[in-house]
């Protein structure tokens, strides 16, 4: 772990993997000084960006970052068990008929049925957001499902499309362009401003996919 300067308002904490990101983000969010010092906390794939509130010196943020690596990542079991907030779990019903399901089966060497079994077989967890409001980068799934992004992104992906890219899975919250391999779709509404929390999935949430239809 190392920390890098990010202007005079931010501190970028670099970590070994996304599991550590989830764990460190949990620890920093739960820190008693967080409401006083932090304007925001932005998890990434290998980093956590701490943003100081106006008037707070960036140096004060260093004290919120756990000092010892071994405290961050108990690798046994799910990410950061015992360190994380009480877990929120969302079950996402998916119809696995995506346009790239056959390609994913070919790329992974699994059959289509095994792709579905692998995607539903383990819980995922939201590591970070950022592509669009309500878009969540899910990690911790079956490592056999790692596939590259499409060489040519689609200009239009429908809301609810379930995709894979690299180590991540994700669900498109609204119609948008997109380069992920699409394996299915869900009817769940990922982003709804009429709800008290518009995003169904926030960083830290556990997600379990379930095959329907």
């Amino acid at each position: 772990m190392r920390t890098l300067p990010y202007g005079d308002r931010g501190l970028l904490v670099e970590l070994a993997d996304t599991a550590d990101v989830v764990a460190v983000a949990d620890i920093v969010r739960a820190h008693p000084a967080a409401p006083e010092l932090l304007a925001d906390l932005v998890p990434g794939a290998r980093t956590v960006l701490l943003v100081a509130r106006p008037g707070v010196a960036v140096e004060r943020l260093r004290g919120m970052v756990p000092a010892h690596k071994h405290r961050i990542s108990p690798k046994s079991g799910a990410f950061g068990q015992g360190l994380s907030r009480p877990e929120v779990e969302v079950v996402v019903p998916v119809t696995y008929d995506g346009p790239d399901l056959a390609d994913v089966a070919r790329l992974t060497g699994l059959g289509e049925a095994d792709v579905v079994a692998a995607h539903t077989g383990r819980p995922w967890r939201v590591a970070f957001g950022g592509f669009a409001p309500g878009f969540a980068y899910l990690v911790g799934g079956d490592p056999r499902l790692q596939v590259p992004r499409l060489e040519r992104p689609r200009t239009e992906v429908p809301a609810g499309a379930v995709g894979l890219a690299g180590e991540f899975s994700g669900i498109y919250p609204r119609r948008s362009p997109g380069g992920w391999q699409l394996i299915g779709r869900t009817e769940l509404v990922m982003w709804d401003l009429e709800r008290s929390s518009p995003a169904l999935l926030a960083a830290g949430t556990t997600v379990r996919f379930e095959a329907v239809g």
Partner: protein
């Protein structure tokens, strides 16, 4: 009814903005908010509003509004020449419009964004705690069009103490301070950033200011950077080597290396740079 009704939008986009909605990165929502925070807050202070009241951010003038009652306003930021009906008025003055009067913003001689602060604030629905329009996320109140009503709210918090301030001027070339990193070591010669004079490109908006000049060369064989959190003022360099300086509606996470980050006190000045304006940077 003391509302304002938009009668013309002839310049750039006219958007409702306030202090933004920080703290929602976990659900992929950025801070947004007024691009030139100092000019925006000055306007609110001039009309006696509580901090955070929503105002109208206007790019290169061209906005005309008509008062439906007595409405008190102050225009700050880019020093647009004003007209109340046929009478000329300066930027920075507190003006009270009578019912039926029209306020028109001309083209500012320097700077880009003017703020129309309205005593009471613009009272439209807030989204995640803010009335700011976010261009990237398409969140918040819609851009103004002729016919849009701007309802005046109840954000007036005190008396009006000052009649006028001097209009701002943005004639001097901008030289902004940059903290190197976090990814300066991804570039063969990060010092080029502070040696060259950059020119603001025409594609710039609230998401980012696109700089033109000699591309920055990346160090070879670095591969791809995994997506990481971003902030306003961050200077991200895509594979074409031309820096993009993130504005208030920047993506929450980005996958290109950030060579340096402009210090917080200097980022308001970015909001006043026009396409074609030169920009110099220096290390802090």
């Amino acid at each position: 009814m003391s509302d304002l009704v938009v009668t013309a939008v002839d310049g750039g986009p006219c958007l409702i903005e306030d202090e933004g909605r920080p703290g929602h990165a976990a659900i992929g929502v950025g801070a947004s908010g007024a691009a030139d925070r100092a000019s925006y807050s000055l306007g609110n202070r001039m009309v006696g509003n509580a901090p955070g009241a929503a105002a109208v951010e206007v790019v290169l003038g061209g906005l005309e509004v008509q008062a439906a009652g007595y409405v008190t306003v102050c225009v700050t930021g880019a020093p647009t020449p004003l007209r109340v009906d046929s009478r000329a008025e300066p930027s920075g003055a507190v003006l009270t419009l009578r019912p039926g009067q029209r306020l028109r913003l001309g083209t500012p001689p320097s700077g880009l964004r003017s703020y129309v602060a309205i005593r009471g604030g613009v009272d439209v629905a807030s989204v995640l705690g803010s009335r700011s329009h976010d261009q990237l996320a398409a969140l918040g109140p819609a851009p103004l069009v002729p016919g849009t009503t701007l309802p005046v709210g109840h954000a007036a918090a005190g008396p009006i103490l000052v009649d006028a301030v001097s209009p701002a001027s943005y004639d001097r070339e901008a030289e902004l301070r940059v903290v190197p990193g976090p990814r300066a070591d991804w570039f063969a010669d990060p010092g080029q950033l502070v040696r060259d004079t950059w020119v603001v490109g025409p594609e710039s908006n609230r998401v980012g200011l696109r700089l033109t000049g000699t591309p920055l060369a990346a160090v070879r064989d670095r591969g791809q950077l995994p997506s990481e959190g971003a902030l306003r003022g961050a200077i991200q360099v895509p594979p074409d080597g031309l820096p993009v300086v993130f504005g208030p509606d920047h993506p929450v996470t980005g996958g290109y290396p950030v060579v340096g980050v402009i210090v917080d006190a200097d980022i308001d000045r970015l909001a006043q740079l026009r396409p074609g304006d030169p920009l110099r940077l220096r290390w802090k």
